[in-house]
Amino acid sequence: MTTKAETGNVQKVIFDGLAEVGAEPDDISREAEFEALDVDSLDLVELAQIVEEEFGVRLEGDDLKGLTTVGQVIDLVVKKAE
């Protein structure tokens, strides 16, 4: 069963997911950049897997290209779930 994707719960899942792949919890915010969080491409693949399991939203390779901040990914997931 997947959860309905709304900004609040998507943000929570993504924040938790980032912490799980090794980002410093205190540094995670909508404005934070992945590079500053030391989140690399494999971490983003895992984050996409978490999002898919939780919300049934599939993020393809091209979807994440060019996205640099956490907030951009949250907005994309919410948009794709609509």
Partner: protein
């Protein structure tokens, strides 16, 4: 993902493509002995797959049959999803399904070329791609690709097969480095001449060239795959283990 299975690895299952006979069947038996619920994929040989599954369950193991052509992307996803629901994620994937369609290059048609490349290489990539996400999440995964000494070595009449198996070895190396830090390993085995239905039409004269002076058995290849699929092989990744009685030494 905290629940552990009886063999000390995270809870999940093993999927063997082309598991109804030969090397695949031997691998299914070996992984079941190691405590994995095994999913035996087959394309046409239902009786063979059923016999392997029965043998495993008779010995106290868990086996399930997965029908379907591994080239079909939609069917593949459905297979993984149903296994995930029943047993947990596929944590051991053995890409064993393979075909031959031999001919000297001047006469090798597009159809023979594409069929062999699709089944032996592209399908293995698709199963690998589908398996990796849950493996990354589980912080555990073992992928073993069944390649061949044909690929690294020449074999007249098998340009398509050689290309597919050499491709598989290249894919193995690169995927391995991409996911190594999540405790997911990706390796290959390269069997030489192995006594199976797949090789029954191979000329017996070839035996004289093999230092061991005999063909290998499916069990001898399965033993190598079993090691690469084991928790103990955690620091082995991106490599190809040759199993050929010394032929390429």
């Amino acid at each position: 993902m905290s629940a552990e299975s009886s063999n000390g690895t995270p809870k999940g299952c093993a999927l063997i493509t082309g598991g109804s006979r030969g090397i695949g069947a031997a691998v299914a038996r070996a992984l079941a002995e190691d405590g994995w619920p095994v999913a035996i994929n087959y394309r046409t040989d239902f009786e063979g797959a059923e016999a392997v599954a029965k043998e495993i369950t008779d010995n106290g193991g868990v086996a399930t049959l997965v029908a379907g052509d591994v080239q079909d992307g939609g069917a593949l996803d459905a297979v993984f999803t149903s296994l995930e629901e029943e047993y947990g994620p596929v944590l051991v994937l053995v890409n064993n399904a393979g075909i031959r369609d031999d001919g000297l290059s001047p006469q090798l048609g597009d159809d023979a070329w594409e069929r062999v490349l699709d089944t032996n290489l592209s399908a293995a990539f698709r199963t690998t791609r589908r398996a990796l996400g849950p493996m990354l999440r589980a912080r555990y995964g073992r992928i073993v690709n069944v390649a061949s000494i044909v690929g690294p070595r020449a074999n007249a009449g098998q340009a398509n097969y050689a290309a597919s198996k050499a491709g598989l070895i290249g894919m193995t190396r690169t995927v391995a480095v991409e996911v190594a830090r999540r405790n997911v390993t990706v390796n290959a085995v390269a069997p030489g001449l192995v006594e199976t239905k797949f090789t029954e039409d191979v000329n017996g004269d070839a035996l004289g060239e093999i230092p061991a002076r005999r063909a290998g058995t499916p069990e001898e290849v399965a033993a190598c795959i079993r090691f690469l699929a084991s928790p103990e092989a955690s620091y082995v990744t991106g490599t190809t283990l040759t199993v050929d009685g010394g032929l390429s030494a």
